[in-house]
């Protein structure tokens, strides 16, 4: 028990890395997802093909392989590109950045499908009505599309977020000192691998449970009007 107390700040610093990594990758994923959905729904043939290629590629390659590829290959590719174009000098891609980019890139493809489905669920007439009342495109997006996009996308968004959080455990493989890495190191140092891995497991479970509750609350808020209609 003493060992657990001694090592708790060490494990806590791992939690901080895991949470920061999850949130930043989520941001990347949402941006890529919105871009991807826009590309898939756009009239441009090339944009549709690129988005299609992106989602198929991600489905075909396991996340860890992609992460290793990006971590070891991405740096080389970036530097070669920099040397050719002369735009930047030597870049060091650290494990954290590689992790955020890889996880964001992977989950962006799942977000693409989510947002595409959600956007398709918005009746076309509402967009036309919005334009007819003289709304500008940004206003239309903010007042009509966004609230409904969130509502339709939320259930699947919840799933993706939970999967994403678990996927961040993989960054320990490329040496980033996240929750898993620190838990493993602490277990090794104290010769109590089970105890520390169990703490790590329970921490992930707690993060899952908290997100689940939070997102369910959000879901209730965004679909309040739908629920109110039901009893009638």
């Amino acid at each position: 028990m003493d060992a657990v107390v001694t090592y708790s700040p060490f494990v806590a610093s791992g939690i901080r890395i895991t949470v920061a990594l999850s949130l930043l990758s989520l941001l990347v994923a949402v941006v890529l997802g919105l871009l991807g959905a826009w590309a898939k729904l756009s009239g441009s043939y090339a944009a549709r093909r690129i988005a299609e290629l992106y989602t198929t590629f991600i489905r075909g390659v396991p996340d860890l392989v992609l992460m290793l590829l990006l971590y070891f290959g991405g740096q080389m590719a970036l530097n070669r590109l920099g040397a050719i174009t002369g735009l930047w000098k030597h870049i060091e891609l650290d494990a954290f950045t590689a992790g955020v980019l890889a996880i964001g890139f992977i989950f962006g493809s799942y977000m693409t499908e989510t947002f595409r489905g959600a956007a398709l669920a918005i009746p076309r007439g509402q967009v036309e009505a919005g334009l007819a009342t003289g709304m500008s495109r940004p206003t239309l997006f903010r007042r009509i599309i966004w609230p409904q996009l969130v509502r339709h996308a939320l259930p699947s968004f919840t799933n993706i977020w939970l999967t994403l959080m678990k996927a961040t455990a993989l960054v320990s493989v490329i040496g980033l000192e996240d929750l898993v890495y620190n838990g493993y190191a602490a277990g090794k140092a104290t010769r109590m691998p089970f105890t520390f891995m169990f703490i790590v497991l329970m921490t992930y479970l707690a993060m899952t449970a908290i997100s689940d509750l939070g997102l369910r609350w959000l879901d209730r808020r965004y679909s309040a009007h739908v629920r109110a209609e039901r009893p009638a």
């Binding site: 392989v65 590829l69 080389m76 455990a169 898993v180 899952t208």
Partner: protein, 243 residues
């Protein structure tokens, strides 16, 4: 310029060198396939009774199984695997018994944790499918005088399996994705082979590209297989649509 020369100096991946090491990648492929098929087959076997218990809300067992699926679906597989592989050694109770001959082996730890994890996922998929079998079909089965077990065997399960097929195909792909974790505990699966290959020649990422291509080929094959399977099982649906 010879092919070898081109491969060594100009190609993005030295494919001749990869070709020379085909037995290594074949071994990786074999191990990946075993780690995919074995746990999946076992999971399907275990998931059916568990899903039935969940769907029928059998008093205490339902709670226990829910706790199990929640735990395994709510935590990373990597941590589950580490817990079993590194954690088991902490207890002398395990180290001194025959259990140690199993839990000492990375291979068995991977096999067990993959099975436990995908059983949890498949149980929940199947439970959802069983619960959404239309009420009318169940009532019709009752009206025909089917016993509960006949009703289960002839009406509910076939319907649920068909309904679960798309989600199941997704699950198979995700299971394939998660088999790469075996390489973190020294098993030579496709990714493990790629890592060995990289280390041997001080390459940064060439092996990973080969691995990525192999995984893509596997996913493509699995997708094809499921398309075919869905075509067979959902044939009555497509006929309805055309008429």
């Amino acid at each position: 310029m010879s092919l070898t020369e081109f491969s060594e100096n100009y190609a993005p991946v030295d494919f001749m060198l990869v070709a020379q090491h085909w037995p290594l990648f074949l071994l990786g492929l074999r191990n990946t396939l075993i780690l995919l098929a074995g746990p999946l087959a076992l999971s399907c076997l275990f998931a059916v009774p568990l899903a039935l218990i969940r769907a029928n809300r059998v008093p205490i067992a339902n709670r226990i199984i829910f706790a199990y699926t929640y735990l395994f679906r709510g935590t990373p597989l990597l941590v589950q695997l580490y817990l079993l592989y590194y954690g088991a050694a902490q207890f002398s109770l395990i180290r001194d018994t025959f259990l140690w001959t199993i839990l000492r082996e990375a291979w068995w730890c991977a096999f067990i944790s993959f099975t436990l994890c995908s059983t949890a996922y498949i149980t929940e998929i199947l439970r959802g499918a069983i619960e959404t079998v239309p009420k009318g079909e169940i009532e019709a089965a009752n009206a025909c005088g089917m016993s509960p077990s006949t009703r289960m065997r002839r009406i509910i399960l076939p319907n649920a399996f068909r309904r679960a097929l798309p989600a199941f195909s997704n699950e198979v792909i995700f299971t394939l994705h998660s088999t790469v974790l075996a390489s973190t505990v020294t098993i030579i699966d496709i990714l493990g082979a790629a890592r060995l290959f990289n280390n041997k020649y001080y390459l940064a990422f060439d092996g990973f590209i080969v691995a990525a291509l192999l995984y893509m080929a596997l996913v493509y094959t699995i997708n094809r297989g499921f398309k075919f399977w869905e075509g067979k099982w959902h044939r009555h649906l497509s006929r309805e649509r055309t008429t």
